[in-house]
Each structure stands twice: as structure tokens, then as C-alpha cells.
């Protein structure tokens, strides 16, 4: 009944091809889940290749993993998990009809945490790798043991974290749009689907990192005797 009333009133963001607001919300949510499935398959090709080569070149992959700076990876893991929390708080705030400033605050926090992640990754990890000469195809001066396998590992390290970072950049772009829309009072407890499905995307990107971190940084045991 309330839906019919909402239809008659044409709330903001309601598109002509739908009959009811709930139909539109369901379609948007399903659409994002299907999109995330395609993303799983997209990253899946890389995870699959990583797995095959790790099985073929285990020692080289361990050697390569030990070239990475685990403290930055760990810090970034914490940063991303907190950013998922702030994203969820932002959605919650819009859903329960809190003041728009509160929603914007959570979204800006999320964005800053995402930017922190990228800053740490580029400034302290990738740049460091560049200086060290362990960037395949760009700056490669590694002469230690298992050189071909280590190069393969570093390729996957850069492709996987690079693709993940690209998704983070897109996520920050989406957050920017959401902040503008929130500031313009586009969202209400009746209509906040864009926030919700963007949240799904953000959490997905975090989860990818949760898999990347141990696969890239923590294999083979970091400490003598382990």
C-alpha cells in the first residue's frame, strides 16, 4: 500500500521502467550482486593462475613473498577493514534517517581510509620495489635465487594488487559521487539504494584484499624456525 502511494508520488530517483519503488530497489541490488559475481570470475582468473604457478614454483614464490614489506600489507589490511566499518555506518546513518552531515562524515572517513591504503601502497611499497629493482618489465635487477620464478611471483603481485588498487580508485570515485548526492538531499530512509549497492562493492573490494594479503605476503613462514 505504501509502495503504491510512493509510486503515485514518484519519489526522487524513481525510474520510469519500474512499477514500484521496491521493484527498483530489488533490481538494483540484484544487479550489483550479479556484477560482483563477474568480478569474482575476473579476479578468479588471476587467483587460478597464481595457484597453478605457486604449485609449480613454491620455493620461488616463498622467496618472492619475502621481498615484500609485510608491515605495510598488515597496516593496509587494518585500514581496509576499518573502512568497511565506516562504509556500513554511513549506510546505516542514511537508512535510519540521521542528519545528512553524519552520513557525509562516515563517507568522507571511508574515502580517507581508502586514500590512505593507496598512499601506503604506492609510496611505501611500489616505490620501494621500484628502487630495489624488483618490478618486472619496468625495473628488474633481481639476481638472487630462483630468478625466473621470483619474477613470475612479482608479476602476479603487481597485477593482482594493481587490479585491486584500480578497484579502490573506482570506489573512491563512487564515494565522491555519493557524498555530492547526499549533500543534495537525494537520499532518504525510503531511497538509499545507491548507498547500499556501493557499499556492497566496497566490501567486495575489501574481501579481495583479505585474500590477497595472506596469499602474497604470508606464504612460507616469515620467521626463522617457523
Amino acid at each position: 500500500m505504501s509502495e503504491l502511494a510512493a509510486h503515485g508520488a514518484h519519489p526522487p530517483g524513481f525510474a520510469h521502467q519500474f512499477e514500484t519503488v521496491s521493484q527498483q530497489r530489488d533490481a538494483a541490488t540484484l544487479g550489483m550482486w550479479v556484477f560482483l559475481v563477474t568480478e569474482i570470475l575476473f579476479f578468479g582468473g588471476m587467483f587460478m593462475s597464481y595457484t597453478v604457478y605457486r604449485a609449480l614454483h613454491l620455493q620461488a614464490f616463498i622467496t618472492g613473498s619475502h621481498l615484500l614489506e609485510v608491515q605495510f600489507g598488515a597496516t593496509n589490511t587494518a585500514v581496509l577493514i576499518v573502512s568497511s566499518l565506516t562504509m556500513a555506518m554511513g549506510i546505516r546513518s542514511a537508512q535510519t534517517g540521521k542528519s545528512k552531515n553524519q552520513t557525509i562524515l562516515w563517507l568522507i572517513l571511508t574515502m580517507l581510509l581508502g586514500a590512505t591504503f593507496l598512499f601506503l601502497k604506492f609510496r611505501f611499497e611500489w616505490y620501494h620495489d621500484y628502487v630495489e629493482g624488483i618490478v618486472p618489465g619496468v625495473s628488474w635487477h633481481y639476481h638472487g635465487s630462483y630468478a625466473p620464478g621470483v619474477q613470475l611471483f612479482m608479476c602476479f603481485y603487481f597485477f593482482m594488487t594493481g587490479l585491486h588498487a584500480l578497484h579502490m580508485v573506482v570506489g573512491i570515485g563512487i564515494l565522491t559521487v555519493l557524498i555530492v548526492l547526499t549533500a543534495r538531499n537525494k537520499f532518504s530512509p525510503q531511497y538509499y539504494a545507491p548507498l547500499e549497492i556501493s557499499g556492497l562493492y566496497w566490501h567486495f573490494v575489501d574481501i579481495v584484499w583479505i585474500f590477497l594479503f595472506p596469499l602474497l605476503y604470508l606464504i612460507g613462514g616469515r620467521y626463522p624456525g617457523s
Binding site: D26, G31, F43, G45
Partner: protein
Amino acid sequence: MSTAIADLHETPADLGVNYLNASYGIRSWLLTKDHKRIGLLYLATITLMFFVGGTAAVLMRLHLIEPQGALFEPETYNKMFSTHGIIMVFFFLVHSIPATLGNFLIPLMIGARDVAFPKLNLMSWYIFITGCAFALYATLSGGVDTGWTFYPPYSSSFSHTHVVAVALGVFIAGFSSILTGLNFIVTIHKMRAPGMTWFRLPLFIWALYATSLIFVLGTPVIAITLFLLGLERILHVGIFDPAVGGDPLLFQHLFWFYSHPAVYIMILPGMGVISELITAFSRKKIFGYSFVAFSSLSIAVISFVVWGHHMFVTGQSIYAGLVFSVLSFLVAIPSAIKVFNWTATLYKGSISYQAPMLYALGFIGLFTIGGLTGLFLASLATDVHLNGTYFIVAHFHYIMVGGAVMAYLGGIHFWWPKITGRLYPDYWARVAAALIFIGFNLTFFPQFVLGYLGMPRRYAVYPAEFQVLNVMSSAGASILGIGYVIPLIYLTWSMRYGPVAGPNPWRAKGLEWTIPSPPPTENFEEIPIVTEEAYDYPSPGVARV
């Protein structure tokens, strides 16, 4: 004189306000969010790509008239077959029925005003033409010679052609498929009219749902694979290069994980079209609705576990080969269910042989030949003999051209009156259908024999003893080429001069036939309430009212 013509042929105004004349100008087309107009944008684009790929095919067949090759250097010939394969697979067949008929028909068939995400739909088309632009650029600036399969290490380290531009084009066009599939899945789930339950959906919708699942699950994998290949080529690192520990077989696994299901992306929508045509022109309910519906889904599911049959002789484990062989045989079951059910639908039907039906009947025969020869290739020992020969070429052309393209043309002819509001000359349409059928068989049946005799595919030259069969094949190709040009002419003619079709010229069932032709922009004045099953034609033997 001019008045006489005006009297004979009604002006477009007689068709009322519809999606074609609701607004004018190039902007109204390039910025449209109407699924029907987007379908036509795709139609124009893939028709262009079809004739580009077709030209390469005609040139190849001309070259092969003589054993030493009549036209090109071998390097140029390599570029010809690569261009033909890449354009036809990635820029025509994969998009053909879903992007044109699917876009046009899905909302009409399920009783919706549009797809779930119209802007995304338009964006898919822009992504697609961007991909096409890369492919055409690469073709015009010298081409690519890797074959459509892009196998490394040749494609990554040795080929001196435009591999990256083409791979990028395929990569980009892939996102168009992904977004189209996503749009269709959500539309079919969430936009059905009241009363349009899953088991009242036309079988075309089931087929496109299954196709969309493959779009969404398979395409990302080829995207990431080509991405890795491109990086390997640009950065000179060895992802798939055995010299630095990479594995070219991994590329083949990843490639076929998409590209085998992609075969079903091409044939499943065709099967959906055939279910519509067979019922409409035999005026009978489909035999075994739920079996036909679920066979689409099971083909989609099985398609993901058979890719290894492309790699029987490439060094994959013999035990993997055994498993893939058995799994490949499984595909025959749902495919045969469809063929048997269409045949049973014809039984005691009131059959009429208008042009779309000719394509449908042609499809059943050619698809059956293509499918059965697929079983030869699914069995390990036979495949060792036939792999890499013209037998493979003939087999997949029976599926992709004899199957998918016949169904596509049948569908275009069936829904053309709905799309344009006008009829085409049925006589010429039947002539073209017959020419295509004859030309097709003359082109590709000799190739089965050539392959069985051992002529390898992708060679620019061949032993003189194969010349007769090659000349037959080339002759067939020229007939086939003429058969494809004729519809282009009379369909274009009919858009302006064809007689007005009316809402339902075939007296067919289905929501798309209950609205005016061409449909209004909003499709339905009021969203219909569906109360009957699909294909609710009067049963034979029951007196018609």
C-alpha cells in the same frame, strides 16, 4: 507517377506514433535509452562487422581455389583467417541474437517497459563500438596473424602484428557482453509482468537467460586472460612463457574456459529463436516446454566443464582428457532433447513454409549435423586424427553458421514486421533462405571430407589432390555470399516501401504480438496481466473458432 507510388505505399505516418518516429535526429538515436532503438544500433553495428568478417572469408575461399594459393602471400593469408575468426566470433556471433533481438524482445516478451537498466544498456553499446573500433583499426593497419585463439608464446613473443590492439578490442567488447548479460538477468528476474511466471515465459527468454549466465560467468575470465597476455607482450615478462617458468597450457585452459562456453553463447539464443519459429509456423504448443527450458540451463551449466576437449592433443593429462571426453558427450543430451522436441512439435502441426520457417527447418538439419560431428571430436581417439584438420572447421561452421547464423536470420525475418512495422517480399526471402542453405552445404560439406582425408586447417597452400573439393567449397562460398547480400537489399527496401504489417502478421502468440508494430516507445499502454501459457495455439483436432 509520384502520386501513384504514394498511393501504393503508405507513408510512415500511417504506422502511428511509435518508437521509430517518436523523435528524430541523430542525437535522439545516439542518446536513446529505449531498448528497441539500442537493439537497432547493435543491428547496424554487427551487420557492418558481419560483412567485414565475411569479406575476409570470401577472400580466403578465393585464395584456396588453387593449390598454391591464388591471391596472397602465406603471411597475408594468416591475417585473413585470423581477422575472419576474430571479427566473426567476438564482434558478430557472440553479440548477434542477444544484443539485437534480445534487446528488442526481452522487455516486450515479458511485459515490461524497458530493461532494468536502460542507461547501462546504452553504455554497453558504446563499449561495444569502442571494441569494434580497435578491431577495425588493427585490421586496417595491417591485421593480426595469431588466429582467433591468440595462443602464446607465438602471440606474446613472436608475432609482429597488431596483437595488442585486437586483444584490447576483444577485452573491451567483452565488457559489453558482461553488462548486457547482467541487464538481461536482472530484467528477467525482476521486470516480468503480473502473471508472467517462469513457466509461462517464451522459450526465447529461457535461452537468453542461460546465455546471460555464460556472459556473466565466462566473459570475465577471457578478459583477464587477454589482459595478462597483453601485459606479457608489452612488458616482456613471462606469464605464459616457458622460458621463465610460465605455462602456455595455462593460457589455453583459461582461454577455452570462456571460449568453449562462448560456443553456447552463440547457439543457445539461436535455439530460443527456433522454439519460437517452430511453434508459430506449425501453430502448435511446444512439445515438452519444461524439458526445452531446462535443457537450455543444463547446456549452460555443462558448457563450463568441457573446455578440455579443445586440448586433447596439446599435452594436458590423459586422465583429464578422459574426463573431458565423457563430459563433452553429456552436452549431446540436452541438445538432442531440443531437436527431438522441435520435431515432435512439428508432428501433426499445421505447418506453413514462410521464410522464417525455412530458416528454422534448415537450422534443425544443419545443427544436427554439426552436433553429431561434434561427438566424433569428443571421442579421444577420433579427435587425435581429426584435430587441426578441416573436419574441425566444417564442424564448428555447421554449428556457428548453419546453426547460429541461420537462427539469427530466421529471427530477424520473423520479428522484422514487429521491428519496422513493414513486410518484406516473402518470395525473395524464401529464395535467399534456399540459396543460403544450398551455398552453406556446398561450402562446408566438402570440408568434412577434406578434413577426414587429412587437409590441415589454417594453411595457405594444399596438395593438388584436394583441389576439386576446395573449388566446390569456394563455389559454395560465393553462393552463400550472394544469399547474405539479398536480405540486406530487400530488408533495407522494405523499411521504406514494404506493405504495412499490422500488429500480428503471423497470427503468433506472445505479448510482443499484442501491441502495435512498430511498438510505441513505452511498449505497453498498460502493463498486461498474463493468464495463459506460452504458445497457447489451438490444439490440432479441436475445431477452430
